[in-house]
Amino acid sequence: MIVAEQKPFEEIKTKIANANKVLVVGCGTCVTVCFAGGEKEVGILASSLRMASKVDGKEKQIDEVTVQRQCEWEYLDTLKDKIGEYDLVLSLGCGIGVQAIAEHFPDARVIPGLNTAFLGLPLEQGVWAERCAACGNCILDLTGGICPIARCSKSLLNGPCGGSDEGKCEISGKDRTVECAWDLIVKKLMARGELDKLLEIQPAKNWQTSHDGGPRRISREDLMLAKE
């Protein structure tokens, strides 16, 4: 899932300073599940912004709405009739949601209320970690299901480097939270008797399928509607 967190309140407050009517838009999918931009978070933020504006002497009109998925036009269509009334749209969707609103409603002024962080999963309640770099060429079968691009700080394909220390990455510092992906991969494959996989030299990565090759697009002819 996409994992995001809310921008600091002061930053958001500053960004809406010149607006009098603001629509806060939440999303019911990824950012709900990571408690950053769902209906509940929209309610709390909108209420905090209202109160803050009251304290500052000029109460703003801060309205709330949450759509099922901010990245799809059909759900955004539900905003069509009211979005024109607002000076500013504060999106609590991920970066995709913010842009979808901006693209679907070109006259609207849309700003982000979240920092979209990474593609990852919840390790335990309240803790999420990065797992996928969307590199466009998945090799998880070669590494025991552990991604060296996303989970290795240097995206090595023939790791580990010399900085692997007791299962932690050299950048881990005092809190020791960053695991060495290659320590995990090597130990897993060796335990399975798959040392031969590790001894094969993985060739230099083709980064064209990653963002390095330019903004990406997929067109599925089998799914596209026939042209009129």
Partner: protein, 324 residues
């Protein structure tokens, strides 16, 4: 294999020494954090004629310093044969190959291929990561430039191709410990000609590592140079033991450094005695390395203490360097 001078791959002094079966000695020169060529000249004075090749580090610990290609060229001008280091942290495959063409044109003949310390360690933490390649694919690329006469993209090189003596590093004490000899074998397979290890203070553990390396036959495919280094102070010894990941410094060594100069009041004299002990330990380590099967030489890392290299090699009986 491509034709070098007289059948050598690169013709570098280090290659000739190792091929002749002599025990090699390499050292290190750290470029300055400024644009002053004079710093290189001053450091070169201590290292001239003392080692078979001298590593020129590449933004070591991700701190910006004079580039290794420039510092290597300046070292060569000042009579010190460089081993140019290149990391994967700051350059993509285009910049790397361009630097290699330039380095060879400038007369540089040894290249050490490293992953590189993450920029989190250094003074520009906000920088973008590169890591287009890793040390393994970098070694392979340098080998293909030399022996395959082609760029990484497969295109043939027309005219002079860069022919380096290819080095790589291995940390025998890094985790996972069991996998390290295999990774060394992998680097040999990728095309490494020589390996320099990280600093070794725990000799029994290194012997264990080398035994496995020899069992795998890797010592016959790459020349392995054991990393040694003089410790300046007891504080430095403790720092290495406690704060540096992947470093194994036995308590006896820390104890020796702490004992050195005990009872001497004068700070200067005390420091001198500590440095003397640090050099003594280094000499002993070199003597022990010479006894370990599979070790083809030593790599002396005297960080910001280049003056120590000559006395260390002298006392270890490795001077004058053989002429091949």
């Amino acid at each position: 294999m491509a034709e070098g001078t007289n059948g050598y791959k690169s013709g570098s002094t280090l290659e000739k020494i190792l091929r002749a079966g002599k025990f090699a000695a390499t050292a290190e020169l750290g470029p300055p954090k400024n644009a002053d060529a004079e710093v290189i000249r001053k450091k070169a004075v201590h290292l001239k004629g003392v080692a078979d090749g001298v590593n020129i580090t590449d933004n070591q610990t991700a701190i910006v310093r004079m580039s290794s290609i420039a510092a290597a060229a300046l070292s060569a001008q000042n009579g010190v044969e460089p081993i140019m280091q290149m990391t994967c942290r700051d350059r993509n495959r285009l910049a790397m190959q361009a630097d290699m063409l330039g380095a060879y044109a400038l007369g540089i003949r040894n290249l050490l291929c490293l992953s590189g310390d993450h920029q989190q360690f250094g003074n520009h933490q906000m920088a973008k990561n590169v890591f287009d390649l890793d040390s393994m694919t970098l070694v392979r690329m340098v080998k293909d430039l030399r022996d395959g006469n082609k760029f990484q993209c497969g295109e043939e090189i027309k005219g002079v191709n860069p022919r380096f003596f290819i080095g790589a590093a291995e940390n025998p004490f890094a985790d996972p410990f069991d996998y390290r000899p295999y990774r060394l074998a992998k680097k040999a397979q990728a095309g490494a000609d020589f390996i320099q290890t990280q600093l070794i203070y725990n000799v029994p553990k290194f012997r264990e590592f080398m035994k496995r390396v020899v069992d795998l036959g890797v010592h016959e495919k790459v020349y392995i140079l054991a990393g040694v280094g003089p410790i300046k102070t007891a504080g430095a010894a403790k720092y290495m033991r406690d704060q540096v990941p992947g470093m194994d410094v036995p308590d006896e060594i820390v104890a020796r450094m702490e004992a050195a100069g005990k009872g001497i009041e004068d700070k200067k004299a005390k420091a001198e005695v500590a440095r003397e002990e640090g050099i003594k330990i280094c000499v002993e380590l070199i003597q022990q390395m010479r006894e370990i099967p599979g070790v083809a030489g030593v790599h002396i890392m005297a960080i910001e203490w280049e003056e120590a290299v000559r006395p260390i090699l002298e006392r270890a009986g490795l001077l004058p360097r053989p002429v091949v």
